[in-house]
Subunit: 338 residues, 2 copies
């Protein structure tokens, strides 16, 4: 999930995030103010460390989905901002703990917080942001929304632990891999979208539709991320290519390449991913194997499959700028792979 | 907070935890069952790691306070068990993250989870337990209770970060130290007690009384813990003495000894605590300085002060076995120091 969306990429014929950005623009100042105010604390180190990550920006894709979903549901209150902020805090807390768990050096194009302030402060500030997420949710006085958020927090943690247990198994099944990203990534997208309908008090069917939209978008998003880490559809050695490879991460391109490979290839994957014994030329060879077996193309193809479900989920809503912006956001996420 | 309460110590003339244990005994089976069921997860590693800490037992002092407070408030529902369980989960999550932050090797007399399963899984299972804590609270459908729990989670995290920022400053003021333990330790005791009255729907004055009881008991508990780490009132070299010293922890005995010492003594404290350059004989010298300045005796004296406030806070409740058990629990916590 380390790739930055190119916000400035909106040529006319390309799917773009611009409609989503335009749709939520009126709420973004309030959202950013709220993010800063809930990152406040008596102990100076907390906002300092939190701001390091918050100020780096990131996409704010998840809270934007909440804002757009509320808009789609004709919500005219103020709680969508607070809920969107809580969504972003849960995400930020996860990123901080992720960096410690993955021993990452870079996050959102900046030095990871853990390198500047240590693992200890990074874990604890993550805890603080998670607690603040729940404080905000409590302030909405909406128990259904709280239920969704607390279940999402548990799922994310479970997905992260699952990822850890799969980490050294290059023979991970595609099913296990999909379950893992469902928990780790898709749950929060699902919650982000669903919450927009929940605070708007919409009927069950619309809540379910937005949950399905978010869930499937989240899966597609993660799959494209996995493909992009190997250069996406282009699959050539590039500047940002190979982070997952070097970390020995089990992602779908690896899962597919291992399954489709012969004995010799499987031995290769075991060495470089499982034992993380990597030599010069290994990444190029991995890319060659992936191309040979269509592993990246099929990862993107699967992303497209889930993207299609996400789009269809919105079909019960009447046409509106919000629906169009959310649909195009799906297309944009897929188009990143090319 | 590493000392185990000796449960079997209940000679007739000594304050004892036995009345509290007897009072909550009818609820403990349900509580333990609930703890096990909410530590469950699809991913096996989660209950495995959680059970390592849960099965080791610990005192369950905080959830027992919730159960006793509910009893004191004549609560006759079932939610006190769930709330007590949530209190224990927040505490357990904190312990897991603490172990990573402190690089602890031992917890509750067992090898710390982080040594068996690594820092990564320990952080993430802590996150899972924290999320489960909130899921349980959401199930009570009680927003006031949720408010208290989420504020406690934020305070604990803030206290832990504060502790980290004080860590290398042996000239920490007593005020800063007290603020730190208020957040880190007292808030959860306060919440544990207050929640018993909140779920029982008691009037504001009784809620405030129980919060005050828990807060002051928590402060006393932490101060006694700090004193015990240097052998308590006996202040002699013992088996369990000196963990805080070796870790260079800023606790009240050190804060007082530094303030009351001369230049040479302050240089000593800077070397052993701030720079953690420790040689043989340093701990014995530290104990000698503490005795000379009455630092441990005064730490216990301050604990007694807060213990007195805790007892008085309960005075608005009519006499009952619950009130007596809670009062004696305060005396017991103080008596540990002797």
């Amino acid at each position: 999930m380390s790739n930055i969306l190119p916000f400035d990429q909106h040529k006319t014929d390309q799917p773009s995030l611009q409609p989503l950005l335009d749709l939520v623009a009126p709420d973004m100042d309030s959202l950013n103010r709220l993010i800063l105010s809930y990152a406040e604390a008596h102990v100076e180190l907390i906002p300092k460390l939190a701001h390091h990550l918050i100020d780096a920006g990131g996409k704010r894709l998840r809270p934007m989905i909440t804002l757009a979903a509320a808009n789609l549901c004709d919500y005219d209150g103020e709680q969508h901002i607070k809920v969107a902020c809580a969504v972003e805090f849960l995400h930020t807390a996860t990123l901080l703990h992720d960096d410690v768990v993955d021993e990452s050096d870079i996050r959102r194009g900046r030095k990871a917080a853990r390198l500047l302030w240590g693992n200890q402060a990074t874990v604890l500030v993550g805890d603080y942001l998670l607690a603040q997420c729940f404080r905000m949710m409590v302030e909405t006085r909406n128990l259904d929304a709280l239920d969704i958020m607390s279940a999402a927090a548990a799922d994310i943690a479970e997905g992260e632990v699952f990822q850890l247990t799969l980490q050294n198994n290059v023979a991970t099944t595609e099913d296990d891999y999909m379950q893992m990203i469902e928990w780790k990534t898709a749950t929060l997208f699902a919650a982000a979208a669903e919450l927009g309908a929940v605070i708007a008090g919409r009927p069950r069917q619309e809540i379910a539709a937005l949950r399905s939209f978010g869930r499937n978008l989240g899966i597609a998003f993660q799959l494209v991320d996995d493909a992009l880490d190997y250069g996406g559809e282009q699959a050539v050695m590039g500047k940002k290519v190979g982070d997952d490879f070097r970390e020995g991460k089990i992602t779908l391109p690896v899962v597919l390449s291992f399954r489709r490979g012969d004995e010799e290839e499987r031995t290769f994957w075991q060495r470089v991913i499982q034992q993380r014994e990597q030599q010069e030329g290994d990444l190029a060879h991995a890319l060659e194997l992936m191309r040979r077996h269509g592993a990246i193309a099929d990862t993107v193809e699967r992303a497209r499959h889930y993207g299609g479900i996400a789009r269809d989920a919105l079909a019960i809503f009447p046409a509106s700028p919000a629906r169009q912006a959310l649909e195009e956001a799906v297309d944009f996420c897929i188009a990143r792979a090319f």
